[in-house]
């Protein structure tokens, strides 16, 4: 099942929860199975599965989080006006933490483009948004990721400076 692991990992990052990601991925395959007649032969099967994943995750989020879902808030957007330098050293754990703090729509776009390496056109299809929206979400998402990483680097720097190192 060549796409399963990628779908699962994307789902984990989108939901921040492994157990729910497992359920979501299972649901994706069940949905794909049921709606196979809507798959156009010759088109990108992987993109089709991701489209179902996005739909399933949105549905899942609505069901689980209810009112806790924060629509991509304007403050977050407005905050992302400065692009800090990328730290020289990036730990795996930090980058995984950082991406989870990026609001869902931006995070999803970044995961699809920079991890799954879908084209902008495929992402527009998967997310069902215009390509311009994909580009702005990517730009914002990458910016926010950089900010979080820079914040983390700064906080580690401060703690070291504070004499906590051993």
């Amino acid at each position: 099942m060549p796409h399963l692991h990628d779908l699962y990992r994307t789902a984990v990052k989108m939901l921040g929860d492994r157990a729910r990601a497992e359920d979501v991925v299972q649901e994706v395959y069940l949905q794909a199975w049921k709606s196979f007649e809507r798959f156009t032969p010759g088109t990108n099967c992987r993109a089709w599965l991701y489209k179902i994943l996005i739909h399933t995750v949105h549905h899942e989020r609505r069901g689980w989080f209810g009112a806790r879902v924060v629509p991509d808030s304007q403050e977050v957007l407005d905050g992302a006006s400065y692009t800090p330098p990328i730290p020289e050293q990036i730990m795996e754990r930090e980058i995984l933490q950082a991406i989870e703090t990026v609001p869902p729509d931006y995070r999803t776009a970044v995961l699809l483009a920079d991890v799954e390496e879908f084209s902008y056109k495929d992402i527009a299809h998967i997310l069902n948004v215009p390509i311009g929206t994909v580009m702005s979400r990517l730009s914002r998402g990458r910016s926010l990721l950089r900010e979080r990483l820079a914040e983390m680097a700064r906080s580690y720097g401060l703690s070291k400076g504070g004499g906590c190192g051993a």
């Binding site: 399963l4 395959y29 007649e37 692009t83 990036i90 980058i95 995984l96 920079d114 990458r142």
Partner: protein
């Protein structure tokens, strides 16, 4: 995004495009412009390197996350359902084929495509391994020995001759096959033949210069498909295998994988119904 630490307008223009550059989303002209700028601008070159590094880190970190061991079988089981459900789904005709085709396309493609065209039949057959592939080879052998060797310019056999060669058990399958084929495909031969010491019922179908076989043969011990229909690509041939109670059936061609599967999806329900009705 704003990049306040780059003040040169040329740099600003390049920086706006750097991510699209990394994603191969730029036109050749814009790409060339950026590539002209980078060697003379260490700031932009460093920024490109840093963005590329960030992406590589992110990709590696996400992909390093462990996947639960049982996930694949959990999903497979969910999709396949219980044996009873599976049986019911098979009876649902196209729906079942579509589902199985999905599994074939998306989950279980074994791609040994694009190997040398000059390989001998035995070399082609050796390219598959494992039990499932051996079962798929049962049909592939006959296709290679019978359909591929056939003179492609030979005229189609008259229907009466085909019916005669197919014998009373399978003569009535000929119109069924003909009715299911997509436009442009026609049966040029229907006969019984022997290959590798087993007997086959063989329909040879042509579309332009493409040759497709529908092949049936009695199951032998150890020959079965685990769940419905299987597909593999061996050399330049695409093989779809499925089964009825007593028989193995194959759709094999030099069409591409999708096309072969589409033709198979049209043929499988009718062939299964036919075999079920003529069992024993």
């Amino acid at each position: 995004m704003s990049d306040g630490h780059f003040s040169d307008p040329a740099c600003e223009a390049v920086l706006r495009q750097l991510d699209a550059y990394l994603s191969h989303e730029l036109t050749d002209e814009v790409r060339a412009e950026i590539e002209r700028h980078l060697p003379g601008c260490s700031q932009c070159a460093d920024e490109l390197e840093a963005r590329g590094r960030l992406r590589a880190h992110l990709k590696a970190a996400v992909r390093a996350q462990p996947v639960p061991e049982g996930l694949e079988s959990k999903v497979r089981n969910a999709v396949r359902g219980t044996p009873q459900a599976q049986h019911a789904r098979w009876r649902a005709g196209w729906y079942a084929i579509a589902a199985a085709a999905l599994i074939v396309i998306c989950l279980a493609l074994v791609n040994l495509w694009r190997l040398s065209r000059t390989d001998s039949e035995e070399a082609i057959l050796r390219k598959t391994t494992g039990r499932m592939s051996k079962v798929l080879n049962v049909g592939l052998r006959d296709h290679l020995e019978c359909a591929v060797r056939r003179d492609p310019k030979a005229p189609a056999a008259p229907a009466a001759e085909m019916a005669d060669e197919l014998g009373p058990d399978f003569a009535a399958l000929l119109p069924v096959v003909e009715s299911k084929l997509p436009p442009g495909f026609r049966v040029v031969s229907g006969h019984r033949c022997w290959a590798g010491r087993r007997q086959y019922v063989h329909f040879i179908v042509m579309s332009g210069n493409k040759v497709l076989s529908l092949i049936l043969t009695r199951k032998q011990p150890g020959e079965w498909f685990d769940s419905g229909i299987y597909q593999t690509g061996v050399d330049r041939y695409q093989v779809v295998g499925f089964e009825s109670h007593d028989d193995l059936a194959f759709v094999i061609s030099d069409l591409d994988a999708q096309q072969n599967l589409q033709v198979a999806a049209l043929l499988v329900p009718a062939v299964r119904d036919y075999l079920a009705a003529h069992q024993g």
